[in-house]
């Protein structure tokens, strides 16, 4: 048991208001739900049991995997594009192109998820606006047009909406790093790509990771995008949770699925904390 030094006390004092807020207004109400995941009729000790968890895995194991794969893939793509955007904003040599990019990349951030679902459904459909434009430009024939409204649609929607979010953070962090090393490397003739990955990205790694985790967690909890782009099998866990509640009034399995979702997010957060911890020491 570490002793409570003044610094620890001060730290606790500073964190407490924010923590109290989350505990009081979310974690306490949540605990009722988490207990609900283990409530079953005629279970152990007045109705506790693993039935809901077992049923959740029995019915939705495939969807759990699907969710994890889709969200992880989206997170990686988002990271890649964010580095690209942030990197060009920091290292780009053509001021006009930098200005255009800076003006361009942020727009999707302002569109709420439910509208992202709607606009991409009508944009990515087989006879949607995208294929319509391609056909009009003569790039493809109407016969070649395919619908992207499946898992690809979900990934596209996530990447479209979340990339600006991470890019904004990453670009901000990149802008504040010391230009001296960059200039020095440039004078030594290093290519911009090398500078980006060997000098710039390592210095913004924490910010990038935080952005990725926040995106990951956000995407895990979005319902409207899978619902409006592809609610088929396999689908995202949020769709299953909504279905359990709205179709069966079954909060037990819904909460069990929520727990799985929470564990996935925590797992990713723990990876980050490990890395951050190593850096701090």
């Amino acid at each position: 048991m570490p002793s409570l030094t003044p610094q620890r006390l001060l730290g606790l004092f500073l964190v407490l208001p924010a923590l109290a807020m989350v505990v009081l207004f979310f974690i306490v109400p949540l605990s009722a739900s988490v207990i609900g995941a283990f409530e079953v009729e005629g279970g152990f000790m007045g109705g506790l049991g693993l039935d809901n968890i077992i049923k959740a895995f029995d019915f939705y194991a495939q969807d759990m995997l699907f969710t994890l794969v889709i969200v992880s893939l989206s997170t990686l793509l988002i990271a890649l594009f964010s580095i690209g955007i942030g990197g060009y904003l920091t290292l780009g040599e053509n001021p006009r192109a930098v200005a255009i990019l800076r003006w361009l990349y942020r727009w999707p951030m302002f569109i709420p998820f439910i509208v992202v679902g709607q606009v991409l459904r009508t944009f990515l459909a087989k006879n949607g606006l995208m294929n319509g434009t391609f056909v009009a430009m003569g790039l493809i024939t109407p016969m070649q047009a395919t619908s992207l409204l499946d898992w690809r649609g979900i990934v596209i929607a996530f990447v479209w909406k979340q990339t600006p979010f991470v890019a904004l953070l990453v670009a901000g962090a990149m802008a504040s790093i010391d230009r001296g090393t960059i200039e020095a490397a440039r004078n030594l003739g290093a290519s911009r790509l090398r500078i980006l990955f060997e000098i710039v990205v390592p210095q913004v790694a924490t910010t990038l990771l935080v952005g990725m985790i926040l995106s990951f967690v956000t995407m895990m909890s979005v319902l409207s995008v899978p619902l409006m782009i592809n609610a088929q099998s396999p689908t995202m866990l949020t769709t299953d949770i909504a279905f359990r509640i709205n179709a069966y009034g079954d909060y037990g399995v819904a909460n069990a699925l929520g727990l799985v979702s929470l564990l996935m997010a925590s797992g990713v957060a723990l990876v980050y904390l490990r890395i951050a911890m190593r850096e701090r020491s």
């Binding site: 964190v15 979310f26 949540l30 904004l168 935080v210 926040l214 949770i241």
Partner: protein, 273 residues
């Protein structure tokens, strides 16, 4: 002419192509949104709307629709949420980044939970709590709910922002006699400001787009614009959903421009580069 050519670097074509593709990817779906706001009739095989008009704008802005009141509520709540979130997150983020804390990892994880556990099953309990304490149907109630979600972004980003500021700078300030508080406000805070303001933008957007909590805690007394957006969007009423989304764009972009102006002036002045 020759000077023009010599000034033109060989990368202009790929650069233009990449930017063009990016513009298409970003504005294609947005064009779709804009077209729907003024489309009276639009179906296949017509690539563009058959009839344009503003009748859906009239519906959104009909006197009994309360769109203006809802938009005002949304903006007020979003601004209050930003203020509250940052007030809570700045000390917390500083402590998490700089000070030795017991169970630091767990604390950070706790802030992640409101976003990590799908909320559908939790809102009944939250609403129940708010009915008990009498916060239902009040603006403070909605602000509290939005803040618990906004804190995820505010605290995590604030922590990263403070961690990125060199601790030695603060120590240097203190060694020449500045008090701890003074060193924080004069040295650390300005350097962490870009990150903090970025988090303010996310908190603002999160609050502006939130509808489930707003319904459970706010309605029917405090109505927020996203409720209209949700009903129209989920029901497939493209016109009304698009118009509402467009309305929500105005405060979002306005807030961002204000923040950016503030950010640029400030960073330039303080960092003095």
């Amino acid at each position: 002419m020759s000077t023009f050519l010599s000034r033109l670097d060989p990368w202009w074509l790929p650069r233009a192509l990449v930017l063009g593709a990016l513009a298409f990817v970003i504005f294609g779906p947005l064009a779709n949104l804009l077209l729907w706001t003024v489309a009276e009739k639009w179906y296949f095989p017509h690539a563009l709307p058959l009839e344009f008009g503003f009748s859906y704008w009239e519906r959104v802005f009909s006197p009994r629709g309360n769109a203006v009141e809802s938009l005002t509520n949304s903006i007020v709540v979003a601004l209050l949420t930003v203020v509250l979130s940052l007030t809570l997150a700045i000390p917390a983020g500083y402590a998490l980044a700089r000070l030795k804390l017991p169970l630091r990892g767990l604390v950070l994880l706790a802030f992640l939970i409101p976003q990590a556990f799908p909320n559908l099953t939790v809102y009944v309990n939250i609403a129940r709590l708010f009915y008990v304490v009498g916060l239902n149907g009040t603006i403070p109630g909605v602000v509290l709910v939005h803040t618990t979600h906004g804190l995820v972004y505010a605290v995590w980003i604030a922590t990263a922002a403070f961690a990125a500021v060199d601790a030695e700078l603060e120590e240097a300030a203190r060694s020449i006699g500045a008090s701890g508080l003074r060193a924080f406000f004069d040295v650390t805070l300005p350097l962490a400001l870009p990150g903090l303001l970025a988090s303010a933008i996310f908190v603002f957007l999160e609050s502006l787009d939130e509808f489930t909590g707003s319904y459970f805690v706010g309605a029917p007394d405090v109505n927020m614009l996203p409720l209209l957006l949700y009903t129209a969007g989920a029901g497939g009423n493209y016109q009304i959903a698009s118009i509402t989304a467009l309305l929500l764009l105005i405060p979002s972009i306005g807030f961002m421009l204000v923040v950016e102006r503030f950010l640029k002036v400030d960073v330039l002045a303080r960092v003095g580069r």
